[in-house]
Amino acid sequence: MLLIITTLLSLFCSVAHADIFVDHEKDPIPVIEVNVAFPKGYASNDSVLSGAATLLPGILKAGTSTLDRKAYDEALGDFAASVDFSVGNLFSNWSLKFPYFEERDYSPLIKVLSENWNSPRFTQKEFNKLIAKSKAAALSSLNDDYSIMNSASRSLVSIKDFKLKTFMFEDFDLITLNHFKKVLASKYHSKQDLWAGMVGPDKAKDLVAKILKSTFKKQGKIHFKRNYQVLKKQKAEVTLADYKASKRLLIVHKKGRQQNVMSYFSLAPKAFDLDRWQTTFDFARFVTIDLGFESYLWDQIREKNGLAYSVHGQSPFFYRREVAGFTTNPLSTKIEKAFALIANKLLPNTYFKSSYITELDKKLWLSRWQSFENRKIISKSTANGRLGQRRSVALGLNSQNQLKTLKMPSQSQASQFLKKHSQTSLKLITVVGDESKIRPLAKKYFPDFKILKLGYKDILSRKSYVKLRP
């Protein structure tokens, strides 16, 4: 009896709490845009389930249990509506866009959206088509930047994580239709509150409420407001101490390239590790890579030396660890200059140590925070920008509170941090190019790095990556 009451109570509670919160940005332009943020992504304990989550958006495009792909497209097309679903590492986003005419009957659209989300077209035929297409796309996207990112991030992961969680090319053959069903049910058909952003005229609110309620089956209330309190914070899980230091230089061998690709990555403090906001690492990362055209990295590689057109700072955070670094594309004639620059100037610890405490850098840092704030004014002027900011806050990434108490780290804090970071840091340099030209430079400029080699076509293989473990 107690069990039944408890079950009923928990059911009641979950239904009662399943409200919909819509951050409404009023706009007279008669196009409705709706975004729904789910705090669930492809991160999973199982590489096959991760893969299924990644491919879920593809199969949702196949239609509904009663409408095949063509009929589904036409049903959306009648309203010039486009629906997208994207799955990231920790978050997913459902979006809808269509022109709004006050007098129009939207019930067929409401029906098709609900059917697509709750009863998608999970047929074997569509499944086979999706797998074949995804395999072809994976092979097509085997360009340099892709390979760099993959090799860098994957070989930074511990062996245990790698085997369990990283979706690789060969996993395509292990996914079944049931995995899609499991992912949809466990991650997205939950009874949690729903967070959405809406852009459009006031008079379309009722229609949006109907669409959200019908599609996501929420029984609670719907609240339209501008700006909401943040989503609940997630708990920090791991610290830097989980990882051992290592220095590796990976050559991805490719003959006859005029353009090389180089990347440098190191393990960064966890996104959840709030002390990052008070550390030299934050300062250095901010100045070196976060600011695009204004970054130290851009300044050194493009502005002062004209080594390459593109320099991308990257700091993707993953499920259990984070990497930070950059990728650039120096011409093969300038590759040695690029090696020298990375070895002598850009290796972060060197840069952090030598300059973080100067008055000029302090001034610069604080002015960059101001710039960051100005950008927020722009971002905050849109519902989607606000939705994105809320997601960041949920991960402990929002700088609002930190800004209020912003202080330069003291010398001892900095030393402590550098010690912690250097003791545990993984460093990986990856270069795509002709091995015979790269290897001598690697030995000259990075003598204490272990040099590894990977064939260009081995990039998608799990087996190849296992060899690269530290």
């Binding site: 010039a80 269509f98 074949a132 796309a137 004209g306 100005n374 927020k376």
Partner: protein
């Protein structure tokens, strides 16, 4: 009485338009979107103002110069020069730092017809942004050292975007193969040998002539008062002198109706095909019909090719590149083959689709596509940046900032018969190019 007089005087000062401007046109091309077009009398610079209640303001400066205006042997200069515009000017030597500290979004693009710079910043920075744009219009720092650095970046961009990626390679190669005469033959990135040969002096001459107020339109969209914006613009640009602008005339492309076919190799895993034909110029009567016909045929979501090739696992993706240019250019259709699909199979399926396309057309499909167009168009009007870029491209291409609104109106009148007629006229400058993986 004195107080009343002073009040009236203050009021008249507030509302009076600065005398250095002529109001050329005002209209409301979309409900709530009021556009005011002025001319700065001292130098004939055009100004478009769109006051809107938002927290941010978008500013764009559109220069009537693109790669079609480059001299022989200096292809790529218009685009390289776009890079130079971010290197600093006399009063704003660290341009990027200024833009970053305003927190703005900033970028630029160079096409065959024009070069457009734009910024989105919090509204309080409007006067600074205008002063910055004015300073780099006439006081840019150009020297050999900076020029060589930017040349390095452009050479790298060229390899990164137009030599290594197969699609970029096709975008570069196809017009060179399809056209014999017209200046549109060469894309904005330019030939490598020309990039190697050009000097800072070339850049200086190019700048002096084309980056002149009478060759530019300033567009401001966002939260500001008209007189406030005009006063800032007058203060920043009013003293500049107009320049005499002499541009090279482009030879007319001879009409060709025989198919040109070529196969090139590239860094691709699968075969790719691109098919092209001559497209009308932006002000030709067929421009709107061409745009709709292209999309009905090759739109990646609702076009016929998608159903015929992508859904049948012959192509991974298809899309059309059909936006009209100022003069007649090319409409292009790209088809990325599925693994192991040969070029001949891809071509055969494509030609079959060309045959059956007219039978597939019906009123419902046309209506659907029009709705998508309408939605996309409205959506562009949602952001200040979208409005600024739309007005910039319209006024430079057609001299009429309302062009894209009129194009949409025209699209509403187009019938299935018009589409079929336009499709039947896809026979000028027929060109087909295949890219196959290297080593095969």
């Amino acid at each position: 009485m004195l107080i009343l007089s002073l009040l009236l005087l203050a009021l008249s000062c507030q509302t009076r338009m600065p005398s250095n401007f002529d109001l050329e046109k005002k209209s409301e091309p979309f409900p709530g979107l009021k556009v005011y077009q002025y001319k700065l009398k001292s130098n004939n610079m055009h100004v478009l103002l769109v006051p809107k209640e938002t927290t941010v303001v978008a500013t764009a400066v559109a220069y009537d110069v693109g790669s079609k205006d480059e001299a022989k042997g200096r292809t790529g200069l218009a685009h390289l020069f776009e890079h130079m515009m971010f290197r600093g000017s006399t009063n704003f030597p660290d341009a990027k730092q200024n833009l970053a500290s305003w927190g703005g979004v900033t970028n630029a693009f160079t096409s065959r017809d024009m070069t457009v710079y734009y910024e989105v910043t919090p509204k309080k920075y409007l006067s600074e942004v205008l002063a910055f744009e004015a300073d780099r219009m006439r006081n840019l720092i150009i020297n050999k050292e900076l020029f060589d650095i930017e040349r390095g970046a452009v050479v790298s961009e060229r390899k990164l975007s137009y030599e290594d990626p197969p699609i970029g390679k096709l975008y570069w190669q196809l017009p060179l193969f399809a056209l014999d005469q017209h200046n549109y033959r060469t894309g904005p990135i330019g030939h490598q040998k020309d990039l190697d040969a050009m000097t800072a002096t070339d850049a200086q001459n190019f700048y002096r002539q084309f980056y002149a107020p009478n060759n530019a339109t300033i567009i401001v969209v966002g939260s500001f008062k008209i007189n406030e914006a005009l006063t800032y613009i007058d203060k920043s640009f009013g003293e500049f002198k107009a320049e005499k602008i002499i541009r090279p005339t482009s030879p007319v492309e001879a009409t060709r109706r025989t198919l040109r076919k070529k196969t090139i190799r590239g860094k691709s895993q699968h075969n790719i095909m691109v098919d092209a034909h001559q497209s009308p110029a932006i002000l030709d009567k067929d421009a709107a019909t061409e745009a709709l016909t292209c999309q009905l045929f090759a739109n990646s979501s609702v076009g016929y090719l998608r159903y015929q090739l992508v859904e049948k696992a012959i192509a991974q993706s298809v899309w059309g590149s059909c936006w009209p240019s100022r003069e007649k250019f090319l409409s292009m259709f790209f088809l990325q083959a599925y693994p192991k699909v040969s070029t001949s199979k891809l071509e055969k399926a494509y030609l079959q689709a060309r045959k059956t396309f007219p039978d597939w057309l019906d009123q419902k499909k046309l209506d659907r596509l029009r709705s998508y167009y309408l939605s996309g168009r409205w959506e562009q009007l949602r952001s200040n940046q979208g409005i600024a870029i739309d007005l910039a491209t319209s006024i430079v291409s057609t001299n009429d900032y309302e062009y894209s609104f009129k194009l949409l109106e025209e699209m509403q009148k187009i019938t299935i018969e018009d589409i079929k007629k336009r499709f039947a006229a896809w026979n000028k400058l027929p060109t087909r190019m295949f890219l196959i993986p290297e080593g095969r």
